[in-house]
């Protein structure tokens, strides 16, 4: 088992930058996830670790060993492809045995190991079938068995669950996590499904447009998204993002839909003052919203009109069109069932509200904590621009 580290890794195809200056450490024996929308470069990143692609620039280290120049067959990684990529002309047994045969393992050892790993994954009854005779879930296990049988230093998984139907996916998700814990293997799991990443990973790296957006434990990424992209990507449904005007009277305040002002005190107010921005993006999670007919005290109350109610069984998903025309979603108990067109308030506890600078897209609460490379564009605004007492800042024209 090894720790996998990427140092300043770039991958350029022609004039398309697929991976841009990625610095990441996937800890030894942990289940890490690379999470991003399609086309974000996450699979490219995995193939870089596997050695299928060579980095244009930068280094890839396994436990401090530079493997950047090693071809995949010298890296000892196990890779499960999205479409499994089983060898259609070989039986399940031969598929699993293939990596061992390539190492000239004696045949009785091959037999023992294949049966061992097949039993672990519950496919010992399928060994003489061909891949075409297997269901998706079974093929998935065979692919996993083939990756595990050679006892790789790193297990790489490229959206292994995306071709399975929902029920099988849920079951294998649990099994996969358990398996990783039992084996204590370093696993890197690529997915576009944030619920999968949240459920399985010890560490999530959110990636977008080839750049790392945030790295952290699932709860951290969920509760403290570093920027607008992460906030708008993580969560089901993701966080509401509402652009608000900033007024300075005399503390910086935000103008909420419906006309009321909410003034920010303490550190947040101070940061907003120093940033000197005219608009701010308010982010809040649908499950943190309290719906009411009148604004609640000590909450940020956003007025809106009910647009649609979607009953989800456990709760109702209610979409409001706020007074300034922006949509926002709230999760409420099933008993809350307003009619479309009804006027309501979305109340958000200030501690659950997130604020983002619309220009840099960064979470204002985290700005001083910016340590991650690659996204260091967060320019902490200097005094020249940022004084809230400056004239004209209170009144904002569109």
């Amino acid at each position: 088992m090894v720790e996998v580290e990427l140092r300043g890794v770039w991958k350029v195809f022609g004039d398309f930058v697929a991976v841009r200056d990625v610095n990441l450490v996937f800890p030894d024996g942990k289940f890490s996830s690379i999470l991003g929308p399609s086309g974000s470069g996450k699979t490219t990143l995995l193939y870089l670790i596997a050695g299928i692609y060579k980095p244009t620039r930068g280094e890839i280290l396994f436990d401090g060993r530079d493997v950047s120049k090693l071809p995949p067959n010298k890296r000892n990684v196990g890779l499960v492809f999205q479409n499994y990529a089983l060898y259609p002309h070989m039986t399940v047994f031969d598929n699993i045995a293939f990596p061992l045969r390539l190492r000239k393992t004696p045949s009785h050892v091959i037999e023992r190991k294949v049966v061992e790993v097949a039993e672990m994954l519950g496919i010992e009854g399928l060994l003489d079938r061909y891949p075409a005779q297997l269901s998706g879930g079974q093929q998935q296990r065979v692919a996993l068995a083939r990756a595990l049988v050679k006892e790789p230093e790193v297990l790489l998984l490229d959206e292994p669950l995306s071709n399975l139907d929902a029920l099988v996916r849920l079951r294998i998700r649990g099994e996969l996590k358990r398996l990783q814990q039992d084996l204590g293997i370093t696993a890197i799991y690529v997915t576009h499904d944030q619920s999968e990443a949240m459920a399985m990973a010890d560490l999530i790296a959110v990636i977008h447009k080839g750049e790392v957006q945030q790295v952290g434990a699932p709860e951290e990424i969920y509760r403290r998204p570093r920027n607008l992209f992460v906030a708008g990507f993580i969560g089901m449904p993701p966080a509401n993002l509402v652009t608000l005007k900033v007024r300075a009277v005399p503390e910086p305040c935000v103008e909420l839909p419906g006309g009321s002002l909410y003034c920010l005190e303490g550190l947040r107010g101070e940061k907003l003052k120093r940033l000197g921005i005219e608009k701010v993006v308010l982010g809040f999670r649908p499950e943190d919203v309290v719906l009411s007919e009148h604004p609640l005290d000590d909450y940020l109350a956003l007025e809106g009109e009910v647009y649609v109610v979607e009953p989800l069984g456990r709760e109702n998903l209610i979409t409001l069109i706020l007074s300034d025309g922006q949509p926002a979603k709230a999760l409420a108990p099933p008993v809350v069932n307003p009619r479309p067109g009804e006027r309501m308030y979305m109340n958000v506890e200030p501690s659950k509200a997130m604020l983002f600078d619309p220009e840099t897209e960064l979470n204002i609460d985290l700005i001083e904590l910016e340590t991650l490379p690659g996204i260091a564009r967060a320019s902490i605004v200097g005094e020249s621009k940022g004084s809230a007492e400056g004239e004209g800042l209170g009144e904002v024209e569109d």
Partner: protein, 208 residues
């Protein structure tokens, strides 16, 4: 022919080298010339090399005949290579990249992955190619008639000779008819035994 076209097709399908696209176009252009159109050039080379061989100290009747056979075979095969390469490229293209990568990640070298994973997967293509090659050779007339001496006919050129020009009056038709039947048999057998494979070849490649 299969042996030449398959690696070439693999290279065209899986490797990116300079001038790959234009080389592919050039190949299909080569295919546009029928064998007859090239026969003068091919004949000229034949005459030069045949004469050189005949004048050398090694010359013997057997050797010269063997050379004539070999020359026809190679010349005819060369004409088939462009199309075969295209056909094989289609088969390689249909194998997902991931399957080959999987083999390499599993520890295979590129050559090993080609031999143990890619080749078995293009078997229908290889079969189709072999059949086309066989048919092309079997039905070949012009090159055989032009290059081979009369006393070493193939079945096709024998039938042709019996039914044309000078020999027609002396031909013994039951024998000619029997020869024609014999000529048909391999073709029919080939199609009977390979039609499933051919169908697979037409519908194409791997269903991974």
């Amino acid at each position: 022919m299969v042996a030449a076209a398959t690696p070439a097709a693999y290279a065209f399908s899986r490797m990116n080298f300079r001038g790959r696209a234009s080389l592919m176009r050039f190949l299909i252009l080569l295919h546009a010339f029928p064998g007859v159109a090239l026969i003068i050039g091919v004949y000229a080379i034949y005459v030069y090399t045949y004469r050189a061989l005949a004048e050398s100290r090694l010359a013997s009747d057997m050797l010269l005949l063997a050379y004539a056979f070999l020359y026809v075979i190679v010349a005819r095969a060369s004409l088939e290579i462009p199309m075969s390469t295209w056909l094989m490229k289609g088969f390689f293209d249909r194998i997902p990249w991931e399957v080959e990568w999987a083999a390499i990640v599993d520890g295979a070298s590129r050559l090993r992955a080609f031999r143990e994973v890619m080749l078995p997967l293009v078997k229908p293509g290889l079969a189709a190619l072999s059949i086309f090659a066989f048919m092309a050779g079997w039905e070949e007339l012009i090159y055989v008639v032009v290059f081979l001496p009369q006393n070493a006919p193939t079945l096709a050129s024998y039938i042709h000779y019996q039914l044309s020009g000078g020999a027609l009056e002396t031909s013994y038709f039951p024998i000619v008819a029997a020869a024609a039947v014999v000529y048909l048999i391999p073709t029919i057998l080939f199609f009977v035994f390979t039609q499933r494979l051919l169908l697979e070849a037409m519908s194409g490649g791997v269903k991974a």
